[in-house]
Amino acid sequence: MLPNFAYVRPSTLVDAVKELAKPGAAAHAGGTDLIGCLRDGVFDTKSVVSLTALKELHGVSATPDGGLRIGALTTLAEIARHPEIAKLYPALAQGAASAASPQLRNQGTLGGNICQRPRCWYFRGDFDCARKNGEFCYAENGENRYHAIFGGETCHIVHPSDTAPALVALEAVATVAGPNGKRKVPLGKFFVLPAVDHKRENVLAKGEILTEVVLPKAPEGARGGYRKMRVRGVWDFALAGLAYSVVVKGGKVERARLVLSGVAPIPWRVAEAEKVLTGKALDAATVKAAVEAAVAGAKPLAENAYKIDLVRAVVEEVLTAIPK
């Protein structure tokens, strides 16, 4: 049931920022998440600001220092089949390929995938929950099998993105354009925990647009990927998943980035596990220690302790498969 809204499609970033700064404006990239939210009445919108005419938000190009710049309007399908991304940043390619369905990937964009609203069924449903205007989080004592085991507190959503964990693992930096010009935000600092603000998922301020993501040069010899577990074979969000980028040199882990999906309100980097790995050989003992470090501090709700097991399983599976 789409409510009434005005529609604006600016052709310059300056105009787009101006339109988005107005009260009740919402950004439309691929539209796949926005239209669902509007249909479900998740938030009120006076105007839909379509970004699709902003040419500078499209496309993938090399950066001078050997990295890659991906425009926020690049579709997930374009990312999933981009040969350079598949070769140098497999975690991102696999993340994009594992999201949603083929048609949604043809339409949904990287920017939209990063900025999509949570899929919590209370948030999306006819419940006045804390993330909307309500008093409390229904998941706390409700149907919480899909909810967070890390970082929950006042709201127990999990971040729905399959590309964001990869981008955090790859140490990507987002460019954000807003009323005050452009700023750079590392993806690792882009997302906001409920403890900070349970009404938003990221640092974008009113009127700000995520315009591009810049990936630094891929470290030599890095092994990476994204492993996602879900109920259905496709068209499903992660019960838990792991985006990783690991460099093994001379039999030892030189650098490890492990970021979990589906278990926390933000892409959940398990820095303790990374620490455990760094400088060590990837033997069974190290893997076991990393597995334990990855789940340390988990606070499951009544129905989602299984996610701890899934995290253990996926960390073990991934690390064991990396050539020593």
Partner: protein, 764 residues
């Protein structure tokens, strides 16, 4: 008779049964692989589904529904909504003519269309008709309703507690528990060398056909035409006439195409009545289709069940005792939630006890869902059989073969007209490679393979009434007139094939008129696998009668005795001298009359015998012991549904049944919020039905045809439900084979498996 669908007990035949027709032997058309006769319409976009209907001056309607699990309407204010742009009419309980009892066809209609006592989320509160659908939906938001929220119950246990909120006068029990007994259960258990006992549950499943439920209603004076997405135009016809208190002759219901039902569209919905009421007050056609979200709460479900099973057997596998105790809830209004039938009839066993208990809860009402009760029963019974086999050290196929009945023990020990259960087990096992698979050595890796089997029967195989008319035109082409809907099962195609078989007319020369109460004849709704065995024989009888009339005319003109003549393609030929022939087009009597009409009716089922389809399913799965991920990698379905009518659509239906079974086994589950009683997953993201990546490419159908010449004139017993009953249980058994963990609660998600692995680890 099993308690099924809306058809209960004996029904009168429409007219007297047609003359004996000998069973078919070799067939020329029937049983072949024939693409659908309406394939063009379905792939070109030219098929007009009810949802597609656009009439001049048509309004669009939407329903305001209760947002609470249990409430009463205290006050309703439509004044703001009435002033919204495009709004033409608003209906509430207070509107003149809207106080209609529901269901009109039930003995005790205790509620009404806009009942002020709202017993579940989604109950109807008001309706709006507007120029556009969006305007109607906007207006819904402007209707102000004051509710008195009431305490609610969601489970059988809560509903039966003392002091529990009561949904209907007389308490929360729909009826006293239905108990069935034969022999002496205690004795049977004491005689057993092995006894297994366990409690199983199945989650509530929602039908969610691709086309949502809805109708278009148009009045011409006091005559009403309804286009409905339905499995049975005649069921809708009766209910609409009764609800609106107008003669059936003033109501015409058309349902040419429909986008799936699976049992949820066997009956008339409130939406149809509401559309008719809105059309009446606005004097304009009204289109009312539900939203996808509404179909999750308000168009039925497969009720959740809890089943405790106890089996006893001798060392050699002979069953001595079966106990099957089932509870369930059909939701807020009367609906069946029974499961026990198959447990009392599938295997030979002298000592049996079953009971079915059904209570009201504040949740969406159940409707028959593809083989109602049977897949749940199989989930419990067939897993228990598997456990029993393990306990006895017997092969699961062997254990089942040991206990094959020749009679229906539940139905007065009457013999089956045919039983292919043993053949399904044997031939299915062969096609699956069962013995080789079970004898394999398990690999070391974390991903384990497993193999499972489950057997089933279905408790219904059609019957009267059904009337079909076949008309032969003077040029030898044919009109086939039947009341049945083609719900995706290929009804139009197989009915044409039957006519073609008898009359030798090619399919492209058969015109079809169907599913229209104004122009076709009564038949029960297409459900319960009844269309082939009920309407097929009527079609054959109609064609048979046309043939008889044609041969009689030809005999006169050829001056030959009619017994000597046969119809062969477009010619009438003497069986004694093949040079004596007459083209159908050249029959003068036909030319004079221009049309020969044959009326075929479905005769009664054979007296003293039971017609029953059987099926055995085999599954191969892979289970990741680390993550609990389960993949179904291979399925074989051995089906005894008698003679296949169209092998192409027969296979397609079986594949569909298997996929639905995967849904029960692996992904589907209604989730009600314990805090509010509201459904949290009323959409296709959170309520997960199988996708292309959840089903194996490797699916095989073995058609076991026992050559049943007694069941009816087609030799077919129906395939729709038997195609889905055993699947989920076979998958669960395969999972148990793979990792040694028995999953008693559906669905088998990584969530469930992780929890079970954790429990196993705890136990050591």
């Amino acid at each position: 008779m099993v308690e099924l669908y809306w058809l209960q007990g004996a029904v009168p035949e429409t007219t007297k049964p047609s003359p004996e027709m000998p069973p078919w032997k070799e067939t020329a058309v029937v049983g072949k692989r024939v693409p659908r006769v309406d394939g063009y319409d379905r792939v070109s976009g030219s098929a007009v589904y009810p949802r597609d209907i656009l009439l001049p001056d048509m309004l669009h309607a939407a329903i305001l529904r209760c947002p609470h699990a249990h409430a009463k309407v205290k006050k309703i204010d439509v004044s703001a909504a009435e002033k919204m742009p495009g709004v033409r009419a608003i209906l509430t309980a207070q509107s003149p003519g809207a106080d209609i009892p529901w269901f009109p066809r039930r003995d005790k209609p205790s509620t009404s269309i806009f009942d002020q006592h709202l017993r579940c989320e989604g109950d109807e509160v008001a309706a709006v008709a507007a120029d556009t659908l969006l305007q109607a939906q906007d207006a819904l938001k402007a209707i102000k309703v004051q509710y008195e929220e009431l305490p609610f119950v969601l489970s059988v246990e809560e509903a039966l507690k003392e002091g529990a909120p009561v949904l209907h006068e007389g308490g929360n029990r729909v009826a006293p528990p239905a108990v069935y007994e034969r022999g002496d259960l205690k004795k049977g258990l004491s005689e057993a060398d092995a006894v297994v006992e366990r409690t199983y549950t199945t989650a509530c499943e929602i039908h969610v056909p691709m086309e949502v439920h809805g109708s278009v209603a148009k009045w011409d004076g006091n005559r009403l035409t309804v286009w409905d997405s339905t499995q049975g135009v005649f069921a809708v016809h009766e209910t609409v006439a009764e609800a609106l208190k107008i003669p059936m002759a003033n109501v015409r219901v058309i349902g040419h195409y429909m986008g799936g039902g699976f049992g949820s569209k066997l009956e008339c919905g409130k939406y149809t009545i509401i559309a008719a009421l809105l059309a009446k007050v606005t004097a304009r056609p009204v289109k009312l289709f539900l939203t996808r979200e509404e179909t999750f709460t308000m168009t039925g479900n497969r009720p959740p069940n809890k089943m405790s099973v106890r089996l006893g057997a001798k060392k050699d596998g002979t069953l001595t005792a079966i106990e099957f105790l089932s509870t369930g809830t059909g939701g807020a209004y009367p609906a069946s939630a029974t499961t026990s039938f198959m447990a009392t009839d599938l295997y030979l066993c002298p000592n049996v006890k079953s009971s079915d208990e059904n209570v009201f809860t504040n949740a969406g009402r159940a409707r028959p869902f593809r083989a109602p009760g049977f897949p749940q029963c199989a989930w419990a019974l067939e897993q228990a059989m598997d456990e029993l086999a393990a306990r006895l050290g017997m092969d699961p196929v062997e254990l089942r073969l040991k206990n094959i009945p020749k009679t229906s023990q539940r139905r007065g020990n009457q013999p089956y007209t045919s039983t292919g259960l043993a053949d399904c087990l044997r031939e299915g096992a062969k096609a699956f490679g069962w013995n080789e698979a079970r004898a394999r050595k398990k690999p070391d890796g974390p991903v384990k393979k497993g193999f499972g089997v489950a057997a089933s029967l279905w408790g219904y195989a059609g019957g009267p009434p059904s009337t079909v008319i076949v008309k032969l035109f003077s040029d030898g082409s044919v009109n086939l007139n039947m009341g049945a809907a083609d719900i995706g099962t290929g009804t139009k195609t197989f009915m044409s094939m039957i006519v073609s078989e008898e009359l030798g007319v090619p399919l492209e020369k058969i015109q079809i008129e169907h599913a229209d109460t104004g122009t076709t004849q009564y038949t029960a709704p297409s459900g319960g696998s009844k269309t082939v065995p009920s309407d097929g024989p009527a079609a054959r009888a109609a064609a048979w009668e046309v043939k008889k009339k044609l041969l009689a005319l030809a005999a006169e003109e050829m001056k030959l005795p009619v017994e000597e003549l046969m119809l062969s393609g477009a010619e009438i030929v003497s069986t004694k001298d093949s040079t004596k022939k007459l083209a159908v087009k050249a029959v003068k009597g036909l030319e004079r009359q221009q049309v020969l009409v044959g009326v075929g009716t479905r005769g009664p089922n054979p007296e003293g015998k039971i017609v029953t389809p059987f099926a055995v399913h085999f599954a191969e799965v892979e289970v990741d012991e680390r993550t609990g991920e389960v993949r179904v990698t291979r399925l074989v379905a051995a089906q005894d549904s008698g003679r296949p009518m169209n092998r192409l659509t027969y296979d397609c239906q079986v594949f569909g049944g298997l996929v639905m079974g995967i849904g029960l086994a692996r992904t589907e589950e209604r989730v009600l919020d314990r805090q509010t009683g509201k459904m949290v997953n009323a959409n296709w993201h959170d309520y997960k039905i199988p996708t292309a990546l959840d089903v194996p490419v490797d699916q095989k159908v073995v058609a076991v045809d026992p050559g049943d010449t007694e069941c009816n004139a087609t030799g077919a017993k129906g395939i729709g439900e038997p195609a889905t009953i055993a699947t989920a249980a076979a998958i669960a058994n395969a999972v148990a084979d793979a990792v040694g963990v028995r999953v008693v609660d559906s669905p088998i998600t990584p969530i469930r498996m992780s929890q079970l692995f954790r429990e196993r680890q705890k136990k050591g």
